[in-house]
């Protein structure tokens, strides 16, 4: 059972912005929620959806929690609350799903309040799905609000972007987040967690609860082992592919970025991986900067490839071999 999500401490301003849409009775037909992963976009969108669906919101735009609509939202049986997600996580949202939704949306909403469609992640709409959706996105049926959520707004086609009101979520204030993490029971490493998660609080919390830092340390050691020729890239990539490929790629990119920073003698505080400073610094002294940049380029290319059909093990093979060769000289 879901209850209206609480507001996270750093979302107050964003929430007020959304509430003004409701109180000012100027609700856009489509809102795009864009911002980094793990800063609570979905939670805010759900909260906004709940307010739009409630028939008796209070003066602050908050749902009453008592009316029939609120009851149905909480039980996840609200007929005017539609979620559009990929059929399997990580896969695209297909045109058939859009067509199905459109046939549902061609009828009037069931209740007197609004109807809300949450599309998440919007960047996973494939190109034919986007095209099928554009017409409706521009002119939805009456009382229908579309909420699109994405952490990669740059991947959205311009035709889709131009049809939405955009709400960009900036990185929350680190001090506030540290306090919040403390309140959540994360007493140690909060600085590092936040740095590794690029300032995304929910991601940091997730890392802390899954002991991700330990796993990261283990992978980093393996990575150093490859550089020192103590192990073979194939052996490591075989193990890595069983983990979360996107996460690993983010880490390696972070390590390489930090290596480049070390080459320029930046202090430890400016690094993403502060705890690894000594290892990184040592390793950076033997590396050629221009070749390090070419590895970095490969990282970025791989990041674009990670969501495609490409064999993940081959992707890591390529990365790690390149890394091993860089260290061979």
């Amino acid at each position: 059972m879901t209850i209206t999500p609480d507001l996270l401490p750093w979302q107050e301003a964003d929430w007020q912005h959304l509430v003004r849409y409701i109180t000012g009775q100027r609700i856009p037909q489509a809102v795009l929620f864009a911002g980094n992963k793990g800063i609570g976009k979905s939670r805010l969108a759900e909260r906004f959806a709940h307010s739009l669906l409630c028939s008796q919101t209070d003066t602050n735009g908050l749902p009453c929690g008592q009316c029939h609509s609120c009851q149905l939202v909480n039980a996840q049986t609200h007929p005017d609350y539609i979620r559009l997600n990929p059929e399997e996580p990580g896969k695209a949202i297909k045109v058939d799903q859009i067509r199905h939704i459109l046939s549902v949306l061609s009828l009037k909403p069931q209740y007197e309040a609004n109807r809300v469609v949450i599309v998440e992640p919007a960047d996973q709409l494939n190109i034919s799905a986007v095209n099928a959706f554009l017409k409706f996105l521009e002119e939805p049926s009456e009382r229908t609000v579309l909420l699109l959520i994405t952490d990669k707004p740059s991947r959205l086609p311009a035709t889709l972007m131009s049809r939405c009101q955009k709400v960009y979520f900036s990185k929350p204030d680190p001090e506030r987040v540290k306090q919040w993490l403390f309140d959540q029971g994360i007493k140690k490493d909060s600085e590092l967690l936040l740095s590794v998660s690029k300032g995304s609080p929910l991601l940091a919390l997730d890392y802390a609860s899954n002991n991700t830092l330990e796993l990261r340390r283990k992978c980093f050691d393996q990575w150093l082992d490859i550089a020192a020729l103590r192990t073979h890239p194939y052996i490591v990539s075989e193990q890595w592919v069983k983990l979360d490929p996107a996460l690993l790629l983010t880490w390696i990119t972070g390590w390489v970025t930090d290596l480049i920073k070390c080459c320029f003698h930046l202090p430890a505080e400016r690094l993403i991986n502060r705890d690894l400073f000594e290892d990184l610094h040592k390793s950076a002294q033997t590396l050629e900067l221009s070749r390090l940049y070419s590895v970095y380029d490969l990282m970025l290319t791989s990041r674009n490839r990670i969501d495609t059909q490409l064999n993940k093990q081959l992707l890591f093979d390529e990365l790690l071999i390149e890394w091993a060769q860089l260290n061979e000289k």
Binding site: Q71, A75, T77, L102, L105, S106, L107, K108, P109, Q110
Partner: protein, 366 residues
């Protein structure tokens, strides 16, 4: 809490409800039937979020309760119990015991307050109509509705009330049928709504008693039809129906009158040798005669000639034979009247005297 219901009372309403419930549901609760026990009545509700059926049956009862039960399973149990059996329901926590004779079943329930039934607010407009007439009107139009057309307003039926006139229109873009009649009691307003395809199909099935009076209420969102103890509701299509009246306001050739049965038989015979996919037949009109012909890719040919009262220039025009046959079959009069537009853009088929039913078919290029 215990309730006793007779199998015969339960079976038909439950079957009606299960017929609207879809097998593949997005929400688990939609495969359940909502059962509300009130004083001496049991109200059952089933919906797929597009249409909803509510039926009320009389039972002896004093305690109030709301439960939802897996509809299809409950129906199967009731159906397979012996005729005339009493079915006893015992509600306890999140389970319901179904007892009858020496049979015993335990069904799981979902909380009734989470059931997304249609709201019961007053609807703006209402009128009453005889069920037989309404069913006839539906049957003469529904076959023209489109299905799964991207112009989703065509996947439905236009209902137009204009004081004492009722008009039903359906079209798939190639043909259109219009049924018009008088209402016994003038409604006193003008309104146009589009009923969705699934709702129309379901409604036709429910109108099996032609004698009763239907109370129909609708707003811009919903329509509600009360048929004795059953209330049928459907969401409406959110669109404007295209303006089809211009079709009637153009120049026409002189109408042709043909014996309905004669034309139908000729068309059915010619249709045998028409192209199986496109079903095209050619009408060659000349003074006093109509020649209907067809040929297919195997170079087989069919030809029929009918004597008509046509006066004017000779003309050749082709139609989908199935569309013409559908129209002819729905005409009640002995004589059918065919009126072709002078620019050959359409043909109107109607009843010469009453003109309550009109059918438009667009020509084909062969």
């Amino acid at each position: 809490m215990k309730y006793i219901i007779n199998r015969e009372q339960l079976l038909v309403p439950l079957q009606q409800i299960v017929s609207v419930i879809e097998k593949r549901q997005t929400m688990p609760i939609l495969s359940n039937v909502l059962m509300v026990f009130r004083e001496n009545t049991l109200v059952m509700t089933g919906t797929d979020l597009e249409v909803q059926i509510v039926t009320e049956i009389a039972i002896e009862n004093t305690t109030f309760a709301e439960i939802t039960l897996p509809a299809r399973k409950f129906l199967d149990i009731c159906r397979l119990l012996p005729t005339g059996a009493d079915i006893k329901l015992e509600v306890a926590d999140d389970k319901v015991k179904v007892l009858s004779g020496r049979s015993r079943f335990i069904l799981s329930t979902l909380p009734a307050e989470n059931y997304p039934e249609f709201s019961e607010t007053e609807l703006d407009h209402r009128f009453t109509i005889n069920a037989g007439l309404f069913k006839k009107a539906l049957e003469k139009t529904v076959f023209c509705m489109a299905s799964q057309d991207v112009r989703y307003y065509l996947n439905g039926l236009l209902l137009n009330i204009s004081n004492s006139r009722i008009k039903l229109v359906a079209s798939d873009g190639h043909r259109l049928s219009v049924f018009e009649d008088n209402l016994a009691n003038p409604a006193g307003y003008e309104a146009r709504i589009i009923l969705p395809r699934k709702g129309v199909m379901e409604l036709v099935r429910l109108l099996d008693d032609p004698q009763i009076q239907l109370a129909i209420e609708f707003s811009s969102n919903n329509i509600r039809v009360t048929i004795n103890n059953t209330i049928f509701s459907a969401k409406l299509v959110d669109a404007k129906y295209p303006d089809f009246n211009r079709v009637f306001h153009q120049d026409f050739l002189t109408p042709i009158h043909i014996q309905r049965q004669l034309l139908k038989d000729a068309l059915t015979r010619v249709a045998i040798l028409s192209n199986e996919k496109y079903k095209g037949v050619t009408f060659d009109l000349s003074s006093d005669s109509l020649k209907i012909s067809a040929h297919n890719p195997e170079h087989e040919e069919a030809e029929e000639e009918i004597v008509t009262d046509y006066v004017g220039e000779p003309l050749s025009i082709a139609f989908n034979v199935q569309y013409v046959l559908d129209a002819i079959s729905n005409i009640d009069s002995e004589i059918s009247e065919l009126t072709i537009a002078s620019n050959s853009s359409c043909c109107i088929i109607d009843e010469p005297e009453t003109r309550s039913y009109r059918f438009i078919v667009m020509p084909m290029r062969l």
